[in-house]
Structure formats: structure tokens, C-alpha cells
């Protein structure tokens, strides 16, 4: 187990109230769940997530980041805004 995972496991088991930081992600405890950047995860999920984030495989790290974005709602907002912007751009292009 890498050092990061050990630290995270320690933070998870301890009663420490402060947030845990991994890269630019912020982990907080709330009502028996863990909020990662505002998105709620179970203890099981968050362990897998930290594993993925700590992985040397960039695709796994990207996947983990997307999962966080999806959970905290940012992905939805990005998808909607992106879709609308894309629609406007394509419309302007074809009607040029």
C-alpha cells in the first residue's frame, strides 16, 4: 500500500475533523459519508476512488476525476452548458 493510501486510511479511521487533501481534491466527513469536492461517496466508494486517484495510470486518474465531477453535479452543468454552446456554434456555422 502506498503512503498516500496509508495516510488516507489513517484519516478515515481517526476522529480527526479537518479535511483530507489529495492533489487538488478535498475530502470531508459528513453523516457517515465522505464528501469529495462536495460530492457524496460511501466509505467503500471513497477507498476505490482514492486508489484510482493515487494510481500511476492517467486514465484511472481521469476516470476518478470525472466520477467526482459527476457526483458533485459539475459534470451535469458542464454537459448542459457545453451542449447549448455547441448547438449555438453549429447553428451559426451552418447558417453563416
Amino acid at each position: 500500500m502506498s503512503q498516500v493510501l496509508e495516510e488516507f486510511e489513517l484519516w478515515l479511521r481517526s476522529g480527526f475533523e479537518g479535511p483530507f487533501r489529495l492533489g487538488h481534491h478535498r475530502f470531508e466527513r459528513k453523516d457517515g459519508k465522505v464528501l469529495v469536492d462536495g460530492g457524496s461517496f460511501t466509505m467503500e466508494e471513497v477507498r476505490v476512488l482514492v486508489e484510482m486517484l493515487a494510481s500511476s495510470n492517467p486514465l484511472l486518474r481521469l476516470s476518478a476525476s470525472l466520477t467526482i465531477l459527476e457526483r458533485n453535479g459539475i459534470l451535469k452543468a458542464l454537459l448542459i452548458v457545453g451542449a447549448i454552446v455547441l448547438l449555438i456554434l453549429v447553428y451559426l456555422w451552418v447558417k453563416r
Binding site: E70, K76, A83, W93, V94
Partner: protein, 912 residues
């Protein structure tokens, strides 16, 4: 409940009924009455079923009824607007004002309320759609519907239309597809777009509710469905887009976008996205795969488009000119009706006999003629409506029928006394001399004008106790007779309670819709418009206003830079009794002209007497403030890609000119034509680029462009430069400085003896007592080739003679012409007798001649010789009778008796 409260309730209901029902009944009654008046009037005076015509043979109501169904909620007892009321509860809960319990779900709207609401929506939509005959943003839809019903367009071509963005069409193919594109496809497109639009609207309302009520990811799914519907709408409109080399890829871009949005909607619907996450590998692969596929397709397509764009300029001909611009030119020329304009070098501009041509030069322009004619009215209750240029019996005139000018503005004056106008002022456009109606049109008397330009008031005729001005009575058939409740309702709406309830007589005859342009416009459907410049014509017995009807139908394909423009028909409005007769002018085209021709089936072919008087509509050719066919041709006559790109052969209408109608000699024949001079676009030298000639009369519809070629030796000055030459010429400047209130007239270009000359008259305004009149001071001739030779003369002939050094034609004068006419007989040994009276049983007019200028002499002389041969030399007595009709007309005749019947054969000659 007490008696008092019951009676007060009853009173409230009564008041409500009075306030709502009575005005509503009056409005409905008035609308019905107006429709009935129009229906009766047009059936009686035009042979047209007005209701059937303006409501598109009932299609208006069918279309409105069907499309209004889209407003009905397809789910019984459901209403999205009703559901919106839930949102308020949600907001209250969110801000802590309401109960914190979950929001109760409403099951539906009460049945009766639901039915009422759907009916109300349908009725409002029905009224809206009936009024507009179309949908906002989609334009009129009843015409495409009727076109389809009447068999225009071809359903079998729809698959080809759908694939246009993938397999790019040629210009010729596009032209052949346009009837189907404007008929079948546009109708289907409108239906599809309406359904998509309504679905998108309903989904949008629903998704707001879903979002506020926190119903999972349903709102995101609905957003993507709405976006998919929008993209689908865009894709359906693709056959109307302009199509260059990247079109198939642009089209693919929209299809990829549609696929992406529908996929997103599906993923959200099934919870693959946005649900409670698992970290399953299969799910990740599925999502990554979809994302990769869509992104790759999108990026590849965008990459191809980018490649085209990077290489655009070095492949401009293949990428833009061939697929787009060339086709656009072809389609636009066809649509605007300029594809048959023939082009010739300016050296070949039509010309004819010099003397004859100079005697036809239009020395009087519209403003000058109008000012001069104003002084001829003689009464305070008439004014000139407009001065129109006409061509009748080989001569060109300015004609100004009068209209009513109300010196007293009360209701009786406007509706019962000032019912008509009665003067028509006519001026010779060359000589500026006044001509009587009898001389010009051969009419025995000037007609009483009950229908004309600017006749905005309806009038009532034959009303007891009231006399029309000039103590005349309308003799024609009324447009409508008001009696009983109709009369009461009508005059009530006019605010005339006396005429409504205690009228001087039971039935009151009415002349309705007397403004000729409105009278014609009220029977026209979408895509047809009138030329506001109506002009008088005559069949020798009656006088009519001729209203020109043109097709101006917007085409929806962006391959066309113009609407569909054609000269469709003329409608004659009898000045005296308002009868309408329509005649089709346009030739069959397999499209809109044939459609309108079939729609106005009662309109016939042009009668032969009318043909010489026809001219090509000014509005169709184009005005400075309203583009027409010529404006399209100014750009779209270009065929060469380099010339197109460089704009080096584009024309523009000089500010100082517009379409002028003149008589032009083409060989031996005079022709009534509209001419338009053009200069090169933004040319600093203001050179003449060309001369458009739009023929009237028997050659109606023929338009020619006489173009200045590139040769430096043939550069001609344009009208702006000609004007400048006049304004800077020393002699002209001196002359003008001596003339107060002078102004320059129209700039006209004539081809005389193979060269081109501008003629610009100079007028002075003079004040006689309180009246203002105008005189032509002199006319300036300018050689268009150099622009340096500027000469002024008293007439066009004199100016031309001074300019070219030719001997001016000697005008022999009125007395000289009469003497010459008599000599034509006496020189052949025929005695002329001027009797005090002639009595014959039968009078036969052999020829009606005009001899007011010398170039007409040959024609007159030939006619006299023929008359002598047939009617004098065959007789026993070598003599003719000579008598006068008015001060300018002389008649020569012989008498013969045959079986007791005395016949007078004569010819009349207008000599002054």
C-alpha cells in the same frame, strides 16, 4: 337569501350582459355586414366570389383548424399550466414559509375545466392562424397548401430534396425542384416544425417543474430531448440552406450533434449517467466508448471543414463558385424573371428616323406636367390625384385624373355631396400642349369619376333631400343597397343615428371601397401586389384605371437572392361605375404564375385594344427605394467568377434617375418603353454602364440591356456626369442665372442616328396671380460620348441640330399643316367644299389621323392618297367636303347614295 340580494344579483348579470354581449354582438354583426357588402359587391362588379378568394377557397379555415389542434394537450385531464401551480408550493417550502411535508401530487384538472381550457386555446389559435394564414417565422402556409391541392409540385421529388445537402444539386436541378420545395416540402416542414416546436415548449415547461420538484435526472433528460428537437428542426431546414463544398460536412455536423443529444437523453433516461454511481468497468467502457465515438466523429468532421476552409481561396472556384455562386446566379435569375434579358452592345441601341424621334422626345417630365396641369382644374373641390404617363394612338401624354378635395369636412359633404370628380387633364409629353379627353381618347364626354385614386370615403347616392355636387346623379349600379337592420347597424357604426333609425328612405344605395388600388388589393391573395402607379386607359367608349398586379412571392431557398417576381395581370376599374375586369398578362411558367392563373380562373386574355396601351410595371422593374427585377440583374447578370469576385461589372441605379417611360423608335416603329440608365457600381468616373429597355405594347415583357463594352473609345458619360456637364457649362449657367426658380428635368438618353445623346430640359416656375405654373425655358442636349458638347435649344430638335450641325426641321405650324392637308386634295384636281351642314343616314370614319409634326406627314399623305383612290376617284364628282371638329381637327369626306341610303365616308385629321 333575501329578495334584495337576489334582485341585485340579477342586476349585476344584466349589466354584465349589456357590457359584454351587446358590444360583442355589434362587432360580429358589423364584421358580417362588411363581409356581405364585399361579397355582394365583388360578385356583382367583378364576377368574383370574394369570400372564397380571400379565404383561399376555405383552406384558411382547414389549415387553422388543423394546426390549432397542436395546442390541445394530448393527455386527457392534464394541463402543464395547471401543474405550474405546484412550483409556488415548492418555492414556499424552499424559503421556509410553507409546510415542510412532501408536496402532494395533483392528479389532474377537473374534466369540464380541462375541456373548456382546451377549447379556449384551440379557439384563440384558430383565430390567430386564420388571421395570419400562417405561423410566426414560417410565413404564409395556405398558398403552399393550395398549391399542393391543385397539383403543383411532385411528391416523388421529396427524397431528392431531403438528400440535397449530401448530393449537391446543379442550378438547373434546383430550378426544377423549387415548385416541390415551396409546395410539398415546405408544407411538411411547417407541420414537422410546429409539432417539434410544440413538443419542445411542453417539455421545457415540464423540465422546469421536474427541476424544481427535484425529480431526479428527468429534467436533464428533457433538456437533451429539447436540444435534440431543435437540432432535428435545423436538419429539416437544410434543403433551404445555401450549399457550398462543405455542405455535406456541415450537414454531418448537425447529424452528429443530433446523435450526441439523443444518446445523452437516453443515458440520462436509463440512469447510466447521473444515477447512483457504481465503479463498474463495463459502464466506464460504455461511457468512454460513446464519448470517444461522438468526439472522434465530431472532430474528424470539423477537421475536414477546417481543411476546406484553409484551402478555400486557392480552390474558390471548385469550393464556392461551382456549387454555390453559379447555382445561385442561375436560380436568382430564374426567380426574378431576368433570365431572358438579352444583352447587346450599346452601339446597337435601337434608333430610327431622326425627325420622328426628335418629335417624340419627352420634353415634359412628371413634375413639370403636374405643376402645369394644376392650373386647369378651375374649382376648389377637386385636385389632381397623380399624373400618369400613357401611350395612346401613337402619342405619349401625361394624364391627371382629378380626385376630390373636400372644402367642407363635415359628414354630409364627404358622403353625400362630394361624391365624384369630373375633370381629366391631359398634356402632350413632347409639346406640353393641353389635349382634351375627346381628342386624346375619342370620348364624347369626360366621365364622372366615382372610382379613383385617393377616393377613401364610401358614398351614398340618390338620397332624398341631398344633391350631389354639379347636380348630377350616379347612374350606375350601386355596390350595395343598405336597408332594414343592415342600414341601422351601418349608420350606427358611422355615428349617424338619424340615418340609422329615421332615414329619409328605407333603402340607401352605397358606393363602397372606391379607392382603385384598395378595390383591387382586396381581392388579391398572398404573393400578389399592385403597382401603386395606376394609369388611365380607354377602349374608345369608356375610361378605366389600369391597375397592374405583380407576383412578389418570397422563395425560401437561400439559393435565390430574390423573391419570385413576374408581371401577372392587369385589372381595369371603370372610373364611372367601379366594375372590375381582370386580364392575365404573364406567360405560363409551371409554377406560381400558373397557380395564380388557375386561382383567378375568371380573368381572361388581354383584349386587342388594350395591348398598345400596356407598359411594364415600374414597381417590378425597381424604384430607388424598392428593389425590383433590374436591381437583381445589376448583380446577377455576371457569369464570370473573376468578374463576380472583383465586382467590376456590377451596376447601380444613379441617384438622379429612375425608370422613365418614353416613346422610342425601333426601326420604323414607335414603341412605348421604360428605360433605366445604369452606372458601374461605385465608379468614380460615373461612366454609363448600360441602358435597360423594357418594352410595352405588343412586345410587353421583353427587356433588353444595351451594355457599354470595355473598349476605351466607347466610354460614355453616365447620367450623373451628364448632369454635372450641364451644371458646369458656362452658357447654361448664364442662362439659368437669368431665370429665377429654374430647375432641371429628367435625364433622358436617346439613340439618334447611331449616337447617344442626353436631353435635360430646364423648367421655370412662374407665379400668375396666386397660381404657380411652369414653362420649359430650354432643353439641353449633351453628347454622351464626350460629355463636353453641351448645347441648349428651344426644343429637342433644335438642340440636336445645334449640337450636330444638322439643319433643324422646319415645323410648318398649325395653319401650314392645314394648308398642306388641303393641298393633298387640290393638287390632284379635287375641289374642296366647306358646307354649312351635312346630313347623311350613315357616317363611316375611314381613318383617324394625327398630323402634329412633320415626320407624321408621310403616313398622313399615304392615308389621304388611299382615301382619294377609294372614295373620290371612283365617284362621278371630283370633290370632297371639308369641315372642322373643334379647333384642332379637320375632316374630309365624300357622300354617296346607295339604294336610298346616303353614306358619308370621311377621314379626320388632328393637325393642332
Amino acid at each position: 337569501m333575501s329578495y334584495q340580494s337576489r334582485s341585485s344579483r340579477l342586476l349585476i348579470w344584466l349589466v354584465l350582459a349589456l357590457v359584454l354581449v351587446l358590444p360583442l354582438s355589434l362587432i360580429i354583426g358589423l364584421v358580417w355586414l362588411r363581409w356581405n357588402i364585399l361579397q355582394t359587391m365583388y360578385l356583382r362588379k367583378a364576377g368574383i366570389d370574394w369570400f372564397k378568394t380571400v379565404f383561399y377557397e376555405g383552406c384558411t379555415f382547414i389549415f387553422a383548424a388543423l394546426f390549432a389542434c397542436l395546442t390541445i394537450n394530448p393527455r386527457p385531464q392534464k394541463s402543464q399550466l395547471y401543474d405550474i401551480s405546484n412550483w409556488g408550493e415548492w418555492l414556499q417550502r424552499r424559503i421556509g414559509m410553507g409546510p415542510s411535508k412532501p408536496i402532494s401530487i395533483r392528479l389532474g384538472v377537473p374534466r369540464s375545466l380541462w375541456i373548456f381550457w382546451q377549447l379556449l386555446k384551440w379557439s384563440i389559435a384558430f383565430a390567430f392562424l386564420s388571421y395570419f394564414n400562417g405561423l410566426p417565422g414560417l410565413g404564409n402556409l395556405t398558398v403552399p397548401m393550395l398549391m399542393v391541392l391543385k397539383g403543383f409540385g411532385d411528391w416523388k421529388l421529396l427524397p431528392r430534396i431531403v438528400t440535397l445537402p449530401i448530393f449537391l444539386p446543379s442550378g438547373e436541378e434546383l430550378v426544377s425542384l423549387i415548385p416541390t420545395l415551396e409546395g410539398q416540402y415546405r408544407l411538411l416542414y411547417a407541420i414537422a416544425l410546429s409539432i417539434l416546436g410544440m413538443a419542445a415548449l411542453r417539455l421545457s415547461i415540464r423540465l422546469v417543474g421536474e427541476f424544481l420538484l427535484e425529480q431526479g435526472n428527468a429534467w436533464i433528460r428533457d433538456i437533451f430531448i429539447v436540444l435534440s428537437l431543435i437540432v432535428l428542426g435545423i436538419i429539416l431546414g437544410s434543403p433551404f440552406w445555401p450549399m457550398d463544398a462543405t455542405m455535406p460536412y456541415d450537414f454531418a455536423l448537425t447529424v452528429i450533434l443530433l446523435a450526441a443529444f439523443t444518446t445523452m437523453a437516453t443515458l440520462f433516461h436509463f440512469g447510466v449517467l447521473g444515477g447512483n454511481l457504481s465503479f463498474g468497468k463495463r459502464r466506464r467502457i460504455l461511457l468512454t466508448g460513446i464519448a470517444l465515438m461522438v468526439s472522434t466523429a465530431f472532430l474528424c468532421d470539423a477537421g475536414i471543414i477546417a481543411w476546406y476552409r484553409v484551402n478555400w481561396n486557392n480552390n474558390w472556384i471548385q469550393f464556392e463558385w461551382m456549387p454555390l455562386t453559379k447555382n445561385k446566379i442561375e436560380v436568382t435569375r430564374w426567380a426574378s424573371g431576368v433570365d431572358k434579358i438579352a444583352e447587346y452592345p450599346i452601339q446597337q441601341a435601337p434608333t430610327g428616323n431622326v425627325e420622328r424621334l426628335l418629335s417624340l422626345v419627352r420634353q415634359w417630365d412628371q413634375d413639370a406636367a403636374y405643376t402645369k396641369m394644376k392650373g386647369q382644374i378651375g374649382v376648389n373641390w377637386m385636385t389632381l390625384s397623380d399624373s400618369d404617363i400613357i401611350y395612346y394612338n401613337g402619342r405619349e401624354y401625361w394624364v391627371a385624373p382629378t380626385t376630390i378635395y373636400y372644402p367642407s369636412d363635415d359628414w354630409i359633404s364627404r358622403h353625400l355631396i362630394y361624391t365624384h370628380a369630373s375633370r381629366i387633364i391631359i398634356l402632350d409629353s413632347h409639346s406640353g400642349e393641353f389635349v382634351s379627353v375627346k381628342e386624346c381618347f375619342g370620348l364624347e364626354h369626360e366621365p364622372l369619376i366615382y372610382y379613383g385614386e385617393g377616393f377613401r370615403e364610401n358614398i351614398y347616392t340618390g338620397v332624398k333631400g341631398f344633391n350631389e355636387i354639379e347636380n348630377v346623379t350616379y347612374k350606375g349600379e350601386p355596390d350595395y343597397v343598405l336597408s332594414g337592420w343592415e342600414r341601422a347597424l351601418w349608420f350606427l357604426s358611422e355615428g349617424q343615428l338619424g340615418f340609422a333609425f329615421t332615414p329619409p328612405q328605407e333603402s340607401i344605395a352605397m358606393l363602397y371601397n372606391r379607392d382603385i388600388l384598395k378595390r383591387v388589393e382586396d381581392i388579391l391573395i398572398y404573393g400578389l401586389e399592385v403597382d401603386p402607379d395606376a394609369y388611365p386607359v380607354s377602349d374608345g367608349e369608356r375610361l378605366y384605371y389600369l391597375v397592374q398586379v405583380c407576383i412578389n412571392y418570397p422563395l425560401h431557398t437561400e439559393f435565390s437572392g430574390s423573391s419570385y417576381m413576374r408581371f401577372f395581370a392587369v385589372v381595369l376599374v371603370d372610373m364611372e361605375d367601379g366594375r372590375l375586369q381582370g386580364f392575365i398578362v404573364g406567360k405560363p411558367d409551371g409554377f406560381l404564375l400558373d397557380f395564380y392563373r388557375s386561382y383567378y380562373g375568371s380573368w381572361g386574355e388581354i383584349p386587342s385594344w388594350l395591348i398598345p396601351q400596356l407598359r411594364y410595371p415600374e414597381r417590378l422593374l425597381g424604384l430607388p427605394d424598392r428593389a425590383g427585377q433590374l436591381d437583381v440583374h445589376f448583380l446577377y447578370h455576371v457569369d464570370d467568377p473573376t468578374v463576380w469576385r472583383s465586382r467590376s461589372d456590377f451596376f447601380e441605379r444613379p441617384l438622379q434617375t429612375q425608370v422613365h417611360y418614353i416613346v422610342m423608335m425601333v426601326g420604323k416603329e414607335p414603341h412605348f418603353v421604360g428605360i433605366q440608365l445604369v452606372e458601374f457600381e461605385q465608379s468614380p468616373g460615373r461612366n454609363l454602364a448600360g441602358l435597360y429597355i423594357a418594352y410595352g405594347g405588343p412586345l410587353l415583357g421583353k427587356i433588353e440591356l444595351y451594355k457599354v463594352t470595355g473598349s476605351a473609345s466607347m466610354q460614355l458619360i453616365g447620367p450623373s456626369a451628364a448632369l454635372q456637364a450641364v451644371e458646369t457649362d458656362k452658357f447654361v449657367q448664364q442662362q439659368r442665372s437669368l431665370l429665377p426658380n429654374n430647375r432641371l428635368g429628367n435625364i433622358l438618353l436617346y439613340s439618334i442616328g447611331g449616337s447617344l445623346y442626353y436631353f435635360i430640359p430646364v423648367y421655370i416656375l412662374t407665379r400668375v396671380a396666386e397660381a404657380v405654373t411652369t414653362k420649359m425655358a430650354f432643353i439641353v442636349a449633351i453628347d454622351a460620348l464626350t460629355g463636353t458638347k453641351v448645347v441648349a435649344g428651344n426644343s429637342a430638335a433644335e438642340a440636336y441640330a445645334l449640337l450636330t450641325g444638322a439643319t433643324p426641321t422646319t415645323e410648318v405650324g398649325k395653319e401650314g399643316r392645314l394648308r398642306r392637308l388641303k393641298e393633298a386634295f387640290t393638287s390632284k384636281g379635287i375641289k374642296i367644299i366647306e358646307p354649312t351642314a351635312l346630313r347623311a343616314n350613315v357616317e363611316i370614319l375611314i381613318a383617324n389621323l394625327t398630323y402634329v409634326s412633320e415626320e407624321q406627314w408621310n403616313q398622313v399623305s399615304l392615308a389621304i392618297d388611299e382615301f382619294i383612290l377609294n372614295y373620290v376617284e371612283g365617284g362621278t364628282l371630283k370633290e370632297v367636303y371639308c369641315w372642322y371638329s373643334g379647333s384642332d381637327m379637320v375632316c374630309f369626306g365624300t357622300m354617296e347614295a346607295e339604294r336610298g341610303i346616303v353614306k358619308l365616308n370621311y377621314l379626320s385629321v388632328k393637325y393642332g
